[in-house]
């Protein structure tokens, strides 16, 4: 958890890590997994805090989940309300579009890491939080303001419901 906290603090600093810059591609891979894992750890705990603070009950379907994520969760923790758009025909995939990404507000990517997906922490957070409420989702970044797009877009895809199971050796 201390590592997670340091990840959070790292985000607030501009991306200038001279020692890691030389590792190149390998560093980038480690960065992604680090961000996602750190984000996952944050997500696992942030959901409990969210449920304690807002008395939102269990969501009945994915659309309700999307509304709660954008209107309650993002608003509470980041102060922004993303728009929920681009629903897939089956209703199991949607996009969250952020006009301003608070995590990347003061960030500039250095020249040798222009392809870096800086907001992958958010993906980890959403994945961890939703896993704790028995939803397996796949979150990825589709558009990123740091890559030159106009807005940040996250795409969430519902994979499956995680069923509550009895611990091994109980039956």
């Amino acid at each position: 958890m201390l590592r997670t906290e340091s990840t959070k603090i790292n985000l607030m600093r501009p991306l200038g890590q001279p020692a890691l810059a030389c590792a190149g591609y390998r560093w980038r891979e480690n960065y992604y997994s680090h961000q996602r894992r750190g984000g996952y750890n944050i997500g696992v705990r942030i959901i409990e805090d969210f449920l304690a603070r807002t008395n939102v009950g269990r969501c009945h379907d994915f659309r309700e989940t999307a509304d709660v994520i954008s209107k309650n969760a993002f608003k509470l923790y980041l102060g922004v309300t993303p728009t929920v758009t681009n629903w897939s025909p089956a209703g199991d995939e949607f996009s969250l579009q952020l006009d301003s990404n608070p995590l990347a507000e003061f960030v500039e990517l250095p020249d040798n890491h222009t392809g870096l997906s800086y907001s992958s922490l958010l993906c980890g957070v959403l994945r961890g939080a939703l896993e704790m409420v028995q939803m397996a989702v796949d979150v990825r970044i589709v558009q990123d303001t740091l890559q030159g797009d106009l807005q940040t877009e996250l795409r969430l895809r519902f994979l499956r419901r995680i069923e509550e199971s009895m611990p091994a050796g109980e039956e």
Binding site: A52, V133, E164
Partner: protein, 151 residues
């Protein structure tokens, strides 16, 4: 009026159970100490799991809150579960009414503040935090239906 209270919290997948309880009446203490072994807790978990699924199947309409409590001639077991699978169980005297909001407060003010926000508390293991024990002790002692029998 004697009120017996026992609090148990455990996650939904793992049987990593944290036991914390205190009993008001001393002569009953030994009974409850022997009652709440790990084996008993596994049975309790199994019972609650089966009861929950049974209730869901039997309900004519969609269950909103589901299983709230059950009552015997000797005690009443209250149950509260969060969407994340954290279960809070409290046993009280049969005269105690609905304590769902109490359990909800226990979750949001004590569990979240002292376990979830504590980086040293792993969510997959029994809760070792002394502060958490103190806080929940103080919380239950402060409940309006908690009373000590004067012997």
């Amino acid at each position: 009026m004697v009120t017996l209270v026992c609090c148990v919290m455990f996650k939904h997948i793992y049987v990593y159970i944290y036991i914390y309880f205190f009993v008001v009446v001393v002569e009953v203490l030994m009974f409850y100490l022997s009652f709440l072994s790990l084996q008993e807790f596994k049975l309790m978990y199994g019972m609650l799991f089966s009861l929950k699924s049974f209730i869901k199947k039997l309900s004519p309409t969609d269950v909103k809150e589901g299983f709230l409590s059950y009552q015997t001639s000797k005690y009443k077991l209250h149950y509260y579960e969060t969407p994340t699978g954290i279960k809070i169980v409290m046993n009280t005297d049969i005269a105690v009414g609905n304590v769902r909001d109490v359990l909800q407060r226990a979750y949001s003010t004590i569990y979240v503040d002292f376990v979830v926000r504590n980086p040293l508390c792993s969510l997959d293991e029994p809760i070792q935090s002394e502060l958490f024990k103190q806080k929940i002790d103080a919380f239950v002692r402060g409940l309006p239906f908690f009373s000590a029998r004067v012997t």
